[in-house]
């Protein structure tokens, strides 16, 4: 089942970037979170993409995106 809630930052509103087909049928969908840029395939194991079981160590705080450093500053 395709969910549009991001497994990493729990924001909603993911966009569909691509669908994989096999013999004409859609077998998976690649989604992308416009808030934290996490991309995933809906066929991946739950521990990587399901916010309910995904490790909190790899969560992104959608309310504090300022904390992430910007590389190559002048």
């Amino acid at each position: 089942m395709t969910t549009t809630v991001c497994g990493r930052c729990k924001s909603s509103g993911a966009v569909t970037d691509h669908q994989g087909r096999q013999d004409g049928a859609v077998v998976w969908t690649i989604l992308r979170c416009p808030t934290c840029n996490f991309s995933w395939r809906d066929s991946e194991p739950a521990r990587a993409i399901d916010p309910a079981v995904r490790s909190a160590d790899f969560a992104v705080d959608a309310g504090d995106l300022q904390r992430y450093p910007k590389i190559l500053q002048q």
């Binding site: 994989g20 992308r32 995106l65």
Partner: protein, 484 residues
């Protein structure tokens, strides 16, 4: 498989090399249906366990990517590296090291140009409605990567401030995170050529166009991955080191690219823009952080018919990354040390890009190995990477860890260990005190010389040298022959 050196010199593309590997039993095709996650990762990691003999794996039946091909592990074993260098399977790491170290200045670069219309890389061309996901059978390399990564891209660019200078063209290996159908972020640091070029383009407000080459001549990834002088073209260098011609052509956006690559993605830097990128499972075996990285917009894609997307597994070692860059990380340190200290006999910096290095040296005087270690820390690679150094005697093969452990066990005194606190460190080293700063360790495991008290024990000197090497190979052949 006669005349391996000539066969290696005649390689001009990934396809040629895969054919050579297949003939030598070093490439297999995985035709069972496999899910992109976690199937591809599992197979790539399982293959990595055999650092000596793992084959390249070509997938041609990935679910959801009908008709598409993916290659992993092309540089994933010492046997594959040996074949690339024109040496037989079973060549020792030490022999491969001296094969590379002996090639400096040996050959002239042979660069030729192919008109764009005749270049295989331009057989198929897309200039609009580009969707990278439709072209590349991507998959999540490590399970908590922030997205789908292109892990083995050779990125070519011209110096944005000196675009007509061939020598200032840069080719480097970078990793890219796909950010929607026609964009990607590129991770680099200010000291890398690409980082310098991005900062220069943004400072001056001039465009920076790049060409991302995928599925390349296998020599390029080996020889373009190591920092050499900024003025030296990586193409010329790779050609000279391979002792073989390299065919170039122009990308649609005017950059010199390999004419026989599988895929080239042309893109332009979005000046001043940064997008969230990462994490990515890196070579120390830990994830990088989430960063705001420069973003590129894809302007066109060229590819061969039925292209092969080549990717790499990077993560906790041992992985293809280690066999890909290990020897060519070690050889420059060796050459630089030998300029000051001809007593240095070999350098093994295979482990995690040299975070641990083992150097064999003939002691000129008591404590001399420590002096050599300090010099190693000041080589270009040593400044950031050589964190743990183990110094062994010249009669210890630094590529044979059993011998290195013997030296540690029998020749090390606890007060022969030096810790240098608060030194520069690779930012992605997970043991750093803070990213970019950490401690260095030197273990002197060489023997004592007067005026050190030498003690009463005399070393056993077992037979060594070419004769014993040949006997060892003959025993192995007799053993294999008994099976057939």
């Amino acid at each position: 498989m006669n005349d391996l050196p000539n066969r290696a010199r005649s390689i001009s593309s990934l396809r040629d090399f895969l054919e050579l590997l297949e003939d030598a039993g070093q490439a297999i095709t995985w035709s069972d249906a496999v899910m992109p996650e976690p199937g591809v990762r599992n197979i790539a990691v399982a293959a990595s366990r055999d650092a000596n003999g793992a084959p390249a794996i070509v997938f041609d039946n990935i679910t959801g990517y009908p008709g598409k091909r993916l290659a992993v592990g092309v540089h994933g074993s010492w046997d594959n590296i040996a074949l690339l260098l024109g040496r037989p399977k079973g060549t020792t790491i030490r022999e491969l090291f001296f094969e590379i170290a002996g090639r400096w200045g040996d050959q002239e670069a042979q660069i030729s140009y192919v008109p764009e219309a005749q270049a295989p890389v331009h057989e198929c061309r897309l200039e609009q409605d580009i969707n990278l996901y439709d072209i590349l059978p991507v998959y999540r390399i490590n399970e908590y990567d922030g997205g789908f990564y292109i892990g083995k891209a050779s990125v070519a660019s011209r110096d944005p401030l000196d675009p007509d200078n061939f020598g200032k063209q840069n080719v480097g290996i970078y990793r890219l995170q796909i950010q929607g159908p026609d964009s990607f972020t590129l991770m680099t640091i200010p000291s890398h050529d690409m980082g310098r070029q991005i900062m220069a383009a943004e400072r001056e407000g001039v465009p920076l166009k790049i060409a991302v080459m995928l599925g390349n001549h296998p020599g390029l990834a080996v020889f373009a991955a190591t920092p050499i002088g900024y003025e030296e073209s990586e193409y010329s260098y790779a050609s000279a080191m391979m002792g073989a011609p390299i065919r170039l052509t122009k990308s649609g956006n005017g950059i010199d690219i390999l004419a026989d690559s599988e895929i080239v993605i042309e893109a332009e830097l979005q000046l001043g823009e940064r997008e969230l990128e990462g994490p990515f499972g890196e070579f120390p075996g830990s994830y990088s952080g989430v960063r705001k990285a420069p973003i590129f917009k894809v302007t066109a894609v060229s590819h061969r018919r039925d292209p092969i997307f080549e990717n790499i597994y990077i993560g906790r070692g041992w992985t293809e990354h280690d066999t890909l860059i290990g020897l060519h990380t070690s050889a420059p340190i060796y050459a630089q040390l030998r300029q000051s200290f001809p007593e240095v006999t070999a350098v093994n910096a295979l482990y995690q890009h040299g975070l641990t290095g083992i150097i064999s040296v003939k002691n000129r005087m008591a404590g001399f190995a420590k002096t050599v270690a300090l010099r190693a820390l000041s080589t270009p690679h040593g400044v950031m990477y050589l964190k743990n150094l183990i110094m062994v005697d010249a009669d210890v093969d630094p590529f044979d860890l059993n011998q290195v452990m013997w030296a540690l066990s029998t020749r090390t005194r606890a007060d022969d260990i030096i810790v240098l606190p608060n030194m520069p460190a690779v930012p992605i080293d997970p043991s750093a005190v803070i990213p970019g700063k950490g401690h260095r360790l030197i273990i002197d495991a060489t023997s004592y010389l007067p005026p050190d008290p030498v003690g009463e024990a005399h070393l056993v000197t077992p037979p060594t040298g070419d004769e014993i090497d040949a006997l060892s190979k003959r025993i192995r052949e007799m053993q294999l022959g008994a099976l057939s």
